[in-house]
Amino acid sequence: MADDTPAQGATANPWQQLRNLTPARIALGRAGTSMPTGAQLDFQFAHAQARDAVHLPFDHAALAAGLAHQHRQSLLLHSAAQDRDTYLQRPDLGRRLSQASAELLDQHRENNPDGYDLAIVVADGLSALAVHRNALPMLERIQEHASAEGWSLSPVALVTQGRVAVADEVAERLGARMVVILIGERPGLSSPDSLGLYFTYAPKVGLTDAYRNCISNVRLEGLSYAMASHRLLYLMREACRRQLSGVNLKDEAEMPVLAGDASPRNFLLS
């Protein structure tokens, strides 16, 4: 807390060691009583990354090519929200398919009248970056698990300008017993590429979040692909056994909480 020196405008805080205890932006120092230049620009870059992630167009062609490499078919679909501006202001449109996409799925169903055990959907959501970085490796694991269970899998439906609930319509039109959607989550300042997984048993248009199970924060610095697919498989098996998904399933799938013994001591009270 030393006073400002004339030579250097910014003053550092003498509590730097606290930074090890939290990801929060503490001990930033000050210029007068304001944010120092370095901290201010770091923040702006983090915000810029999050903004760019929100507006990055979904490169579904690259994803489809990657899937073809894994010998997987894909279906290119679009929600009823025509562009990003509409998508951001009209969540209701992002939850439904465009008419052309709906017809495409109905056509697919005619050719595949038996339906599927599991429909797989990928949507840009609020971060196409999350999908670009994490969707392929995540899909590979999901497919391995599902095949081992003997479940039939739909082609991967790639939905541009999609929200979580669009998966219900995709699955209903495909005649699927279960659906999982991989979707870009709302970017945080330090997590522009976080992928979310939402799972529904007996999906149909109009279901609320109460019928879904969510696995959040899948990314390199967050929940690993292995852990996420392990939890998803657990949910899917339980859902098949109990024939439901959502809040009633959630509590039992909860991972045990870590014991508090490993936590660092609270220095303000010890």
Binding site: T22, A24, H47, Q89, P187, S190, V257, R265
Partner: protein
């Protein structure tokens, strides 16, 4: 149900209900478009403002936007209306009311006496025909002072809620953010944690920790863990020290039901808080959060515009004499408030409406990364609310909430507002900051101390 019409520019605009006039008179915002209640063009919007300006205030006592029988918030509004307090403005139209509010007749004493005579709908209506400068000028006339362990809302003062959130509720991580905030002179409105988990045992541990810190360092402030009111009641039943009782509320019975609360449940929470008698200077102990769009988001808006729904939430709040009310203005996302302009206007409306109804208003001046807004927009809203006399804002490390993933005002931002507008913390907290050598503001300009306070130096020494 009444219908209204207004002829202007050779065209007659017709509105089929009071709710329709109010919705169409609202400044444009995405949430009203999403709900399908907004004006279809700019001309219709101004015509609706003109029609609204001609409606007598007394009309709002005769036509409920949501029927009395169908909604307990409506019943609360009607049953607690004070006709005697209303008398000085009972002859006015909405337009005449705006003129009166701006006049010299509407001084602080007159506005304080009037508050119980106003309904949320009257206040929302007049706000719709006011510009930003009107919203500031009238709000500035009103001080709403509340007390628990210190005094918040005095003229020339602005407090901060120190919000030390951590992604996994790690006590040491929370403590690190608390110390950072205290050393930047923040935390007089409260130290208030949004918990990552809702488990009762972990909530209780956090409450004990906050109480321990406040006692150990003799900080004249109050603590809050923002959990459901029923969880707070359970914590109180378990004998855990709890200062402020938190709950998110909205402006319709159905929206409150979606939060799992009712007036009865809120009363139980209020009574449980009072039973502890922990306030040393006063008994204001409820902490409410609100925000435009919450009713629509719950599918419980009854065709009413989001700003009017929000103002109805203030009727719920004022029934429980809260310590603080916080409109979390930009958190809900761009489908309700699309950009900086909409967020700024909404924050000023909420502050004005709350103050006029007699509430201790604060604002979480914030935005998410999918809204068209940035730090410059927040600086504008912070400055305007500082001029308007806001009771409190949030203070978090570097504007980045690492648990809730949104951006709000930083510890530094609060010091900016204090410096540029000459605002001080709550008096008891100001004395503590000075005594600890953290911050002095003798000549108006905040000055941070040169050395770490000995008590905190000791605490830090344990880490090395």
């Amino acid at each position: 149900m009444s219908s209204f019409h207004h002829t202007v520019g050779g065209e007659t605009y017709r509105f089929n209900s009071l709710a329709e006039v109010m919705a169409k008179a609202s400044p444009a915002r995405s949430g009203d478009f999403l709900a399908g209640v907004a004006a279809s063009n700019a001309g219709e919007r101004v015509a609706a403002k003109m029609a609204l300006a001609d409606i007598p205030l007394s009309h709002f006592l005769n036509e409920a936007l949501i029927p009395y029988e169908a909604d307990e918030v409506t019943r609360l509004i009607i049953d607690t209306h004070d006709a005697h307090a209303f008398a000085p403005v009972s002859h006015l139209t909405v337009g005449g009311f705006r003129d009166w509010l701006l006049s010299e007749h509407a001084d602080e004493a007159a506005l304080r006496a009037l508050a119980p005579g106003l309904t949320p709908e009257m206040v929302a209506a007049v706000s719709k025909i006011m510009r930003v400068q009107d919203l500031i000028l009238v709000a500035q006339k009103i001080n709403v002072v509340t007390r628990f362990r210190n005094t918040v809302g005095l003229r020339g003062r602005m407090s901060t809620r120190l919000q030390p959130n951590h992604p996994t509720d790690e006590p040491a991580g929370i403590a690190a953010s608390i110390l950072d905030g205290l050393l930047y002179g923040n935390g007089d409105a409260m130290i208030g944690i949004n918990p990552a988990t809702d488990s009762i045992s972990s909530i209780c541990e956090m409450l004990k920790m906050l109480d321990g810190i406040i006692q150990r360092y003799e900080i004249p402030t109050q603590a809050c863990v923002l959990t459901h009111v029923t969880t707070s009641i359970e914590a109180i039943n378990r004998g855990v020290p709890l200062d402020l009782v938190f709950q998110s509320i909205a402006g319709t019975e159905a929206a409150n039901a979606s939060f799992g609360v009712s007036l009865k449940v809120l009363q139980e929470g209020y009574d449980a808080g009072l039973s502890l008698k922990r306030g040393t200077l006063g008994n204001n102990l409820m902490y409410f959060e609100t925000g435009q769009g919450s009713a629509l988001s719950a599918g419980a808006h009854h065709g009413i515009d989001q700003q009017t729904c929000e103002t109805r939430a203030y009727a719920v709040a004022r029934h429980f004499k809260p310590f603080l009310v916080n409109t979390v203005v930009g958190f809900i996302g761009p489908e309700y408030l699309y950009n900086g302009k909409q967020i700024i206007r909404a924050g000023l409306e909420d502050h004005f409406c709350g103050k006029l109804l007699g509430l201790p208003m604060g604002c979480d001046i914030c935005y998410t990364n999918h809204a068209e807004a940035d730090q410059d927009d927040m600086d504008v809203l912070l400055t305007l609310l500082g001029v308007a006399g806001i009771n409190f804002i949030m203070g978090i490390p570097g504007s980045d909430d690492v648990m809730l993933n949104y951006q709000t005002t930083s510890f530094h931002d609060a010091l900016y507002a204090r410096q540029s507008l000459g605002l001080k913390p709550a008096p008891e907290f100001e004395d503590w900051l000075q005594r600890m050598g953290i911050l002095s503001q003798a000549d108006g300009r905040p000055r941070l101390g040169k050395n770490l306070p000995p008590a905190f130096r000791q605490a830090l020494a344990q880490l090395s």
